[in-house]
């Protein structure tokens, strides 16, 4: 490989094991990453990837095993030494502090630029700009992280990880699903950055559920299943199919075969939007048909990311939202929308959907407590039973532990629990933003099947996604947003990843549109699946890029 016998590996893990109570998260895992090697770690949701990474970063203490970073043994459970040895991390949910500026977030790891012990504002901000420019970001270092788009936040986390620190040069870069909500152009940029970093001799550990990225970037692949290593092979020995087989251990029935049986024309509109305005929407009108899966596509600022939230009442709006019965829904009243059969799965799970301190059961039942209520008192048994049913139906792992707090579930499993929370209400209209983020290939098929089933049962399903492949696979109709309006309406045979992308890009070609021009330009080398410039780093301008 890239690491000849005489070079010390950037990362050497031997016999790593970790249990959480009765469940095994990692069992005797070995992993070696040479300098300059990009090594992908793959596995289903809950297979132990993030746990491995949290051990490397010193957050978890393993039960057994050793870790060495560029030859130096890592004292386990000690974040500072992990940093000092040159390991840098971008965690699954980034680990940025929302309430403080980008600048301070960048400085959290390596420290502020000081002068005589006082933070030097000018030097700090110059340095921050340089750090951000390295990953092609031109955000204002003074902007608070909470105000940035998910994609930009990922960029900031990467910039922080790559920040130069003369005291401890970077030896190992660890990325946990950095691309889960990244649009294609930013994925490409990230791939460039990774190539550059690895060319400089840094070992890269890369976790993703997007398999095409592996063939683009990774030299070797380690596959985990239930915490055990089931394969460690060079990427060149694999193709897409074999990789999926390794991951799931069984053949998938693709949901889109089933989806094809759904009608391209909805019988009647289950929800009608009329002139929705506010939060980058400008007079958006559309009908969503019952018994149909409608997709919503569009670049950043096109209104795609906000239209479902506005319809449900998560975001303030003007304009009319009408139910099938002709009821006009009040703005900013999710509770009333729910009463009329709407359900909404937000894009940002941690901030807007998950209640991490409550148990999985409590999260699932929160969407409607009525079935569990008798004489004003909650009955525990039916509540548990329903949670267990959904755990099985969506194969949430670990199985049956519905009383565990939500935060001890892996990212993908948390997402399944959010699905359960809404599906159990059997919504008439189900609005979903980025529904399968962080979900593995197998589980994605399960979730898609659930949506198809709900549509077959007469529900109107509306999916807003940055993943055109996902839209093309299960939607019978795709509405493309431009400039805050529904600009194109693809139906039946017209729906394809290519057609959706083309429609999206049409709009951003208009010169006086507010959206950054770079995000609109398709890259020739872009992987076919995700030519979808959406949610781009909004403040970024062309020249700032390298």
């Amino acid at each position: 490989m890239t690491a000849p016998a005489d070079t010390t590996p950037a990362l050497a893990v031997t016999g790593l094991s970790k249990r959480f109570g009765a469940s095994v998260a990692l069992q005797d895992v070995d992993l070696a990453i040479g300098p300059g090697e990009v090594h992908a770690v793959l596995g289903e949701n809950g297979s132990g990837k993030s746990t491995l990474i949290k051990i490397l970063s010193g957050f978890h203490r393993p039960d057994a095993g050793t870790v060495a970073v560029s030859g130096q043994p890592l004292p386990l459970g000690h974040p500072a030494s992990s940093y000092r040895l040159g390991a840098r991390f971008v965690h699954q949910d980034l680990g940025l502090v929302d309430s403080i500026p980008v600048l301070d977030n960048l400085a959290i790891g390596a420290g502020f630029a000081t002068r005589l012990g006082t933070i030097s504002a000018r030097r700090s901000s110059e340095r921050a700009r340089a750090d951000l420019a390295r990953v092609g970001l031109a955000v204002d270092p003074g902007a608070s992280v909470g105000s940035l788009s998910p994609a930009t936040r990922t960029g900031v986390a990467i910039a922080r990880a790559l920040r130069e620190d003369p005291g401890s040069p970077v030896r190992l870069l660890v990325l946990d699903e950095p691309t889960a909500t990244l649009p294609a152009t930013e994925v490409d940029r990230l791939m460039d950055i990774i190539r550059r970093v690895s060319a400089a001799g840094v070992g890269v550990l890369y976790v993703t559920h997007r398999l095409d990225e592996i063939f683009t970037i990774a030299g070797n692949v380690t596959v985990l299943r239930d915490g055990r290593e089931v394969a460690a092979v060079p990427t060149s020995s694999l193709d897409h199919r074999r990789l999926v087989d390794l991951l799931v251990g069984e053949e998938l029935t693709a949901a889109h075969h089933v989806a094809e049986t759904l009608p391209a024309e909805g019988e009647r509109p289950a929800l009608s939007l009329r002139g929705i305005t506010g939060a980058s929407l400008d007079g958006f009108s559309a009908d969503f048909g019952a018994g149909q899966i409608t997709g919503i596509a569009g670049i950043t600022g096109s209104g795609r990311e906000t239209v479902l939230g506005a319809a449900f009442g998560a975001i303030d709006r003007t304009g009319e939202v009408l139910t099938a019965g002709g009821v006009r829904l009040a703005p900013s009243r999710p509770d009333l929308a729910m009463r009329h059969g709407l359900a909404y799965l937000p894009a940002d799970r941690v901030r807007n959907a998950a209640i991490l301190s409550l148990s999985a059961r409590e999260n699932i039942s929160l969407s409607s407590l009525r079935p569990f209520r008798r004489f004003g008192t909650m009955r525990g048994r039916p509540e548990r039973r329903i949670a267990l049913t959904w755990f099985q139906r969506l194969s949430v792992r670990p199985p049956d532990l519905v009383d565990l707090p939500l935060e001890s579930f892996s990212g993908g499993n948390q997402q399944k629990i959010m699905f359960a929370k809404w599906l159990r209400r059997e919504p008439v209209v189900f609005l979903l933003d980025e529904p399968t983020q962080g979900v593995d290939v197998g589980a994605k098929a399960v979730l898609h099947r659930q949506l198809v089933q709900a549509a077959a049962g007469g529900a109107a399903i509306v999916i807003s996604s940055s993943d055109v492949d996902e839209l093309a696979a299960i939607c019978q109709r795709v509405i493309v947003c431009r400039d805050g309006r529904a600009a194109a309406d693809l139906r039946g045979g017209e729906v394809s990843a290519r057609a959706i992308s083309r429609e999206c890009l049409l709009g951003s070609a208009s010169p006086n549109h507010g959206v950054s021009s770079t995000t609109g330009v398709p890259r020739p080398g872009a992987s076919p699946g995700r030519v979808f410039p959406d949610q781009g780093f909004p403040d970024q301008e062309g020249p700032a890029d390298k």
Binding site: P79, A80, R88, G109, S357, L358, L366
Partner: protein
């Protein structure tokens, strides 16, 4: 060794309070067996701390929704003074006077709710301001002189009537505790309140009327504080200053309680346990010495030691979690933005904020000295 540490988990994290209680009883029992190991000790601990326990219960409910109510001390005090004044000066009979005092608590809670929910003022600030205003009202009402306690025997009997040697007051605490436990743990309302406190945004998007539950929780705390004032007045007389002095112990109990029984959640029995563990300690210390400052010292040290022990345990045990271990949020999967205890009163009391500095926490995975 770590394995055995896991096996040898006697529930130190969830039941540390019970162990501490046992330890106190052991120590003081050996030290002063004839004074300490008596029924009288049990009776007087039970009733002496009853009002403190009530105020602890009063704050647990708003804390569950993520709101601090700092006005409970002042409310209790005003109600205590008022209930005495109405009887001894205005010659009202007991029950109407009590009703008015309780009503005052309800009103104060409702106004707090209005300021926090409608005017969107941070709960910490709103209730701090309210506490000051209520203090001023108390001065106006009382003319700054302690009112005569009512002379009727029914008034004294209200709390001091003995049942199995316990003052009736103690049973009131048990009743209020049962009601609040049932409310928080066994009704949809309680579930909505915990959801509101856990993540207000997510709760709202799940159809929870976040503002309404916050409001209701503040009315609850105002009412219970009013009741606590009435009972204090009956038990010990309408002091002009007892309320604010009980504010801190009430919060100490609620926070200590959130490390017990259902760690990571403000909970009723944990709070009651905390009150009585501390009370036992203080009582024992008083038997041994009569130094004045020892009470405060004991309470403060016990609070800090107990909570840091629980945090430490939970950090160690973050791994071998069995249910309900949310004090620490994992930085990677949960993100500090949503998880951090945040400033007091933020809707986001995900963990009851036992650990300070969410920023420091999230810094860890990024690595860095």
């Amino acid at each position: 060794m770590r394995i055995s540490g896991k096996r040898l988990n006697f529930g130190f994290d969830r039941f540390s309070g019970l162990y501490l209680w046992g330890l106190f009883i052991l120590i003081f029992g050996i030290w002063e067996p004839r004074l300490f190991l008596t029924l009288g000790t049990v009776h007087s601990i039970a009733s002496e701390q009853a009002v403190a326990a009530l105020l602890g219960l009063a704050v647990v409910v708003p804390l569950a929704t993520g709101a601090f109510d700092l006005s409970i001390g002042a409310t209790a005090n005003l109600s205590a003074v008022l209930v005495a004044l109405l009887q001894s000066q205005q010659h009202w009979s007991m029950w109407p006077a009590i009703a008015v005092a309780l009503l005052i608590g309800v009103i104060i809670g409702a106004v707090n709710g209005f300021i926090i929910v409608r005017l969107q003022v941070n709960a910490f600030i709103a209730t701090l301001g309210m506490a000051t205003i209520v203090g001023a009202v108390e001065t106006i009402v009382s003319g700054n002189s302690q009112p005569q306690p009512p002379t009727s025997s029914a008034w004294a009997r209200l709390t001091q009537y003995q049942i199995f040697g316990f003052q009736a007051l103690f049973f009131y605490v048990i009743i209020i505790a049962l009601i609040s436990w049932w409310f928080l743990e066994r009704t949809p309302a309680g579930r909505y309140m915990y959801a509101t406190g856990g993540n207000g945004v997510a709760a709202r998007l799940s159809g929870v009327r976040v503002g309404g539950w916050t409001w209701l929780s503040l009315i609850f705390s105002g009412t219970v504080a009013g009741l606590a004032g009435v009972l204090f007045s009956s038990q010990s007389g309408p002091s002009l200053t007892f309320g604010p002095a009980l504010l801190l112990p009430a919060y100490a109990a609620a926070f200590l309680g959130s490390t017990q029984l259902r760690p990571g959640r403000f909970n009723v029995w944990g709070t009651v346990l905390a009150v009585y563990v501390l009370a036992t300690g203080v009582f024992g210390v008083q038997l041994i010495t009569s130094v004045q400052w020892l009470n405060d010292m004991f309470n403060g040290v016990a609070l800090i030691v107990a909570v840091s022990f629980a945090v430490w345990r939970q950090r160690r045990a973050r791994a071998d979690v069995t249910p309900a271990q949310p004090v620490e949020s994992s930085p990677a999967e949960s993100g500090p933005g949503a998880a951090g205890g945040g400033p007091p009163g933020s809707a986001n009391g995900q963990s009851p904020g036992l650990r300070s500095s969410p920023a420091g926490d999230s810094a860890a995975p990024g690595g860095g000295p």
